[in-house]
């Protein structure tokens, strides 16, 4: 053990294999470490038992409607950009029970859903994903009301973020101001070099988690390698949206633009973009009645503004076609979200581009909306 005194805000070097010690520290403190793993040729987020579970040597090739996981054998554990899953599934589960109702002697009684939640340690949260958590905080943790599942798992979550040195083809976090470096909101922030992690302590919990580990001084050489790597990453974003400040006005000022008709001809309204989006928060509630008719479970499930039922009311459907639904999605994400939560709803992770079966690319749609209309 070194003589270095770790403090919140300070940066150290950590030999790669020491990460195993960090995971066991976290486990000792009661956390369940969750991190990237290879499953069915895609990166998923699942419990980690050791460093060997991590996707060391993998990289991913991503483009509109295309995802390929490639093994190159490089020495880095966290070089691969995220797959379809996001951390959202742990804080805002795809399906959760709201309450059960039981009928006894003709009268219904409601049983509130109460259960204990595990404390998660999220290992390898990308800066764009961390930004997505901070955005969902604004959605689920409001002054007047907060979602209890989200609040409890969020408060107890340990966040180890991982800066990005190798963005993929659909990444545009640099445009959205969310990456490639995490600035805030982490307990520990790591950058992975070939033979070292550089580690910055973001909180007291982060400091404690480093207990007993072989921390080494952050040499000027290593620090420079990190800043050079991040600078290069910034230049290698696969996608780009210029002038994001102007987006709310651009989108809400072009609600009748012919581009909405154009994209509606390509969009399948399949909901993939909303399911993979780390900030999309819409949900539906439905009842499952038992066969006896005497008990019912009310559950919350992820919904999507692309579902036909989403905007259905007795008088008809307020968004009866794909044009209206795509317009709602993009204008919400990139414009009205700002009015609602004081930030845009997009973090530039590129999932909606990668996982769109029709290869629709929101950065291209926005570029088309920006083009001067040709009037004849």
């Amino acid at each position: 053990m070194s003589d270095l005194i770790p403090e919140v805000g300070s940066t150290f070097a950590l030999p790669k294999l020491e990460l195993d010690g960090l995971l066991s520290n976290l486990r000792k403190f009661g956390y369940q470490p969750i991190g990237p793993r290879v499953e069915d040729n895609v990166i998923t987020y699942a419990p980690l038992s050791s460093l060997d579970d991590l996707p060391r040597g993998y990289t991913s090739e991503q483009d509109a409607g295309r995802y390929r996981l490639i093994y190159t054998g490089h020495p880095r554990y966290f070089d691969v950009t995220p797959g379809a899953q996001s951390w959202k599934q742990f804080l805002f589960p795809p399906r959760s029970l709201i309450f059960s109702a039981r009928r006894d002697d003709g009268k219904w009684k409601i049983q509130e859903e109460t259960k204990a939640l595990p404390s998660y340690a999220f290992i390898g949260v990308r800066p764009c994903e961390l930004a997505a958590l901070l955005i969902q905080d604004r959605v689920f943790l409001r002054e007047e009301w907060s979602d209890s599942i989200y609040r409890l798992s969020r408060q107890s979550a340990f966040i180890l973020s991982m800066n990005c040195l190798h963005p993929c083809g659909t990444c545009f976090c640099a445009s959205m101001g969310t990456g490639p470096k995490a600035e805030t909101g982490f307990d520990l922030s790591l950058t992975e070099l070939d033979d070292m992690f550089m580690i910055t302590i973001g909180s007291e919990a982060g400091r404690l988690a480093l207990g007993g580990l072989n921390l080494q001084p952050a040499s000027a050489f290593l620090l420079q390698a990190v800043s050079k790597g991040l600078e290069d990453a910034r230049k290698r974003m696969g996608r780009n949206i210029p002038d994001t400040e102007a987006l709310p006005e651009l989108l809400l000022g072009n609600l009748e633009h012919p581009q909405w008709d154009d994209v509606a001809r390509r969009c399948l309204s399949c909901t993939n973009c909303t399911q993979v989006c780390p900030t999309c928060f819409c949900w539906d509630a439905s009842d499952q009645l038992s066969i006896s008719g005497n008990s019912s479970q009310r559950t919350r499930v992820w919904d999507s503004c692309f579902n036909p039922d989403y905007s259905y009311i007795a008088g008809g459907n307020t968004r009866p076609n794909t044009r209206a639904r795509y317009r709602q999605w993009l204008t919400h994400k990139m414009a009205s979200w700002k009015h609602q939560f004081d930030v845009l709803g997009c973090v530039g992770c590129g999932r909606c581009i990668t996982w769109c079966p029709a290869g629709i690319d929101l950065t291209a749609e926005i570029a088309a909306l920006r083009e001067e209309k040709v009037t004849s």
Partner: protein, 288 residues
């Protein structure tokens, strides 16, 4: 070593999503497919703490069927029971229509913004409504009857498809008596009908109003709202004095499930009642 993981023992609570039971005390048939249900919370503490403002709504719940967002149609100052006037049309409301006196309905609420009755004391109120929009405005009528001296002229423009479809028919006389000018119209008359024929918005042509003193409150079918707003604006009522109530798909009432959005607004919490001034940029776009 310090224990830093906090909450492996913390418990989830889903309270804001839990309904309270209310018993049906009375069912008043209003029109074909429409009835008013008087409800009383079973739990006396809930009953004591429950208060709503005119225009707010509840989420009504039937186990196995789900929830529906329905306006509260009773007197806000009656703290014993509350009314919902419901048209049997969807999954939940069709099954509410099968209930009897003594049966129970789950209620969450009240939710949303209210009609600006306090903001516009002294003004002329023009209430324009049709179909099952009327229940949302009935609490305003109750409020005016209790505080008539607080307002100038109060006019009700109310329409239904046929005379049989009119709701609250036994109350018009008391409204008139309380100083509410009640103008009623039907789209299609029958042989018994001697009143106005035509859509609600044409009643504006029979109305002499002072646009500078008037506040418009309107709720009903979207097409009716659009024409009422058109007639009001044509008479130079400022858009900040026109209030509309919107209907959208809703699952939570908390501005959370996302369904009810129009532009930047969550209709369940930023609405359902909006000033037209705030709503216009979005309401004027089709299918938004």
């Amino acid at each position: 070593m310090t224990q830093i993981a906090l909450s492996s023992m913390s418990l989830v609570t889903t309270k804001p999503m839990l309904p309270s039971w209310a018993e049906i005390m009375n069912i008043q048939a209003e029109a074909p497919g429409i009835a008013t249900y008087s409800l009383r919370f079973v739990d006396h503490l809930v009953r004591k703490n429950y208060a709503f403002r005119p225009g707010q709504f509840n989420m009504l719940y039937l186990p196995g069927y789900g929830e529906a967002a329905i306006s509260i149609s009773s007197d806000p100052e009656n703290r014993e029971t509350l009314d919902h006037t419901i048209r049997s049309t969807g999954n939940v409301t069709q099954n509410i229509a099968r209930l009897k006196v003594g049966d129970q309905i789950g209620i969450r609420g009240p939710f949303g913004t209210s009609w600006p009755v306090e903001q516009f004391m002294g003004a002329d109120l023009i209430i324009a409504t049709g179909g099952v929009g009327a229940p949302s405005l009935r609490p305003v009528i109750y409020h005016v009857m209790r505080h008539r001296q607080d307002y100038g002229r109060v006019v009700l423009l109310y329409g239904a498809r046929t005379p049989k479809d009119l709701q609250y028919t036994n109350e018009y006389e008391s409204w008139e008596k309380a100083g509410i000018e009640t103008m009623i119209t039907v789209d299609r008359a029958d042989e018994s009908w001697t009143g106005h024929v035509g859509v609600v918005s044409i009643l504006f042509y029979r109305l002499r109003m002072d646009p500078k003193k008037s506040v418009i409150m309107t709720c009903g079918p979207e097409i009716m709202i659009r024409y009422v707003v058109f007639e009001a604006l044509a008479r130079r009522v400022p858009s900040s004095h026109i209030f509309v109530s919107l209907e959208r798909n809703m699952k939570c009432g908390l501005g959370q499930c996302g369904h009810c959005q129009i532009g930047p607004y969550f209709v369940c919490k930023d609405g359902p009642i909006f000033s037209y001034e705030a709503l216009e940029p979005y309401y004027s776009v089709e299918e938004l």
